[in-house]
Amino acid sequence: MNEVPKRSFVQRIHLKLIIWLGLFIGLVYWTASLTGVNLVMFFENFDQFTALLDKMARPDWSYTQLVINPILQTVQMALIGTTIGTLIAIPFSVLAARNIVKNPFIRTIIRFILNLVRTLPDLMLAALFVAIVGIGPIAGVFTLAVFSFGMISKLFYEAIETIDEGPLEALQATGANRSQVVIFAVIPQVFNYFISYFLYTFEINVRASTVLGYLGAGGIGVYLQRSLNEFAYDKTAIIILAILVVVLIIDTISNTMRERLL
């Protein structure tokens, strides 16, 4: 009477689960051999890693004075880069929003470009821009501008797509043209989101900008690379601490402002 209903053989032995698990273990094994994972070497040489950490645990405090200017330059680069990126992103995000541009052809092309830009890692852009404009913070600004452009346009057009359609219709009904609709019905609704996303991208850019100098694109990264090349890990420690402090300060300010905005 009360027998447990039978499941098929495949279900009973969890065939799907086993296949997936087998594939996964195979993948882990394959990637491990492809990347030359060598646990013996890792544990044998682990003392070198700890020796390095030990050097870093005794920072060279006298170096602090020297890193203040470059770390501030990093923030400056991030601010300018994010601003330029945002300014370029605004028209693109309007063109990519489904509820503003009804023409799917334009929208698809714009989104395709945005997707391409977003696939490029920050350091790769830095390497390219250093080659183009030369070593220095300008290369960093360009990198961050392109990097934030890709990120911000997506956040912006998604914000635009979630707005209330009522005011748009109301304005169209009064005979307003396309740009009037954007100015009077779209921007007021998304303004706070835009500011919030700007701040969020700025946070990410501050983090990103700290390493761009490693390839010559200005800011604290230049000093990071120098200290690492000189094996001066006590100085590296100061730089990392400085990055940590600045990132935390920027994050805190930005988070408080974003909480107030939304």
């Binding site: 990637t31 391409l116 920050d122 790769m124 390219l128 404009v133 940590l244």
Partner: protein, 269 residues
């Protein structure tokens, strides 16, 4: 009547002041920022190099795609993906204990255990990944193993945070039901907590994998394996059609991974 005129006069003024104040702050900030990044025009060759890069992208070095040596685009892209995959996998395992450490229970804002865990995760998140890579290169030598280790450690910062948030936001009801049925802590964990959070953990891990693919493709620039090494070399030697093919390779790979991972994530949660 009197009070009405007062308020109508008063409010716009206050608002004007507020706007003026913010405008001033923003103007000062930008003034300061531009002072710190002096602009002396581009180097003379800028236009020419841009043109060469564009030329390279439209005339990529197709011969580099595959030559059977393992040091070609396909081989190194696979290596990059392998670094991202293995690193993210290890990181996801390591992140679980960190997540339980950092997850807040109850309503206290500051709690010794969870707050200390959150601080540690923030430290890990802020520690630059390429510095980690360089440190691991000292230990295991240059190559993709160092890259795997860097991805594994660095990703804990973000995964641990996301995992701990999903533990915090978890519906506590099933756990309560298990406890009220006489289950102990371990049973509550296996029957209620884990089944609830694991799909979310998997989804976050996939998301982090997408990010790891991007970062693995640049770790090679500091010698930690993958496609980044030949890319930097090609840029430095100005072999633009080589740069072009590698850029195309990265764009295609990242787009594909984002698409596949995104569609799996949609089905998970």
């Amino acid at each position: 009547m009197k009070s009405a005129t007062l308020t109508t006069n008063h409010l716009p003024k206050q608002k004007q002041l507020k706007w003026g104040f913010w405008f001033l702050i923003i103007a000062i900030l930008f003034g300061w920022a531009f002072a710190g990044v002096p602009f002396h025009g581009f180097q003379n060759s800028a236009a020419e190099i841009s043109k060469s890069i564009m030329y390279g992208i439209f005339h990529p070095d197709w011969a580099y795609v595959y030559d059977g040596s393992g040091e070609d685009l396909v081989g190194l892209t696979l290596q990059t993906l392998a670094m991202a995959f293995l690193g993210t996998f290890i990181s996801a395992l390591l992140s679980v204990p960190f997540a339980f450490w950092a997850a807040r229970k109850g309503s206290q804002r500051i709690h010794l255990r969870s707050t200390s865990g959150k601080v540690v995760l923030t430290l890990i998140r802020t520690f630059p990944e390429i510095v980690l890579a360089i440190m691991f290169i000292k230990a295991v030598g240059p190559g993709s193993f160092a890259g795997v280790l860097a991805v594994s450690v660095h990703s804990i910062g973000m995964l641990g945070k996301l995992f701990s948030e999903s533990i915090e936001n978890m519906d506590g009801g099933p756990g309560e039901a298990l406890t009220s049925a006489g289950g102990n802590h371990a049973q509550t964990l296996t029957f209620a907590t884990l089944p609830t959070v694991i799909p979310e953990f998997l989804s976050y891990t996939l998301y982090r994998f997408e990010i790891a693919v991007r970062s693995a493709s640049i770790l090679g620039m500091v010698g930690a394996g993958g496609i980044g090494t030949p890319l930097l070399f090609a840029i430095q030697t100005r072999s633009w059609s080589r740069v072009g093919i590698i850029l195309l390779g990265i764009i295609v790979t990242v787009t594909l991974i984002d698409f596949v991972s995104g569609s799996i994530r949609k089905r998970l949660v």
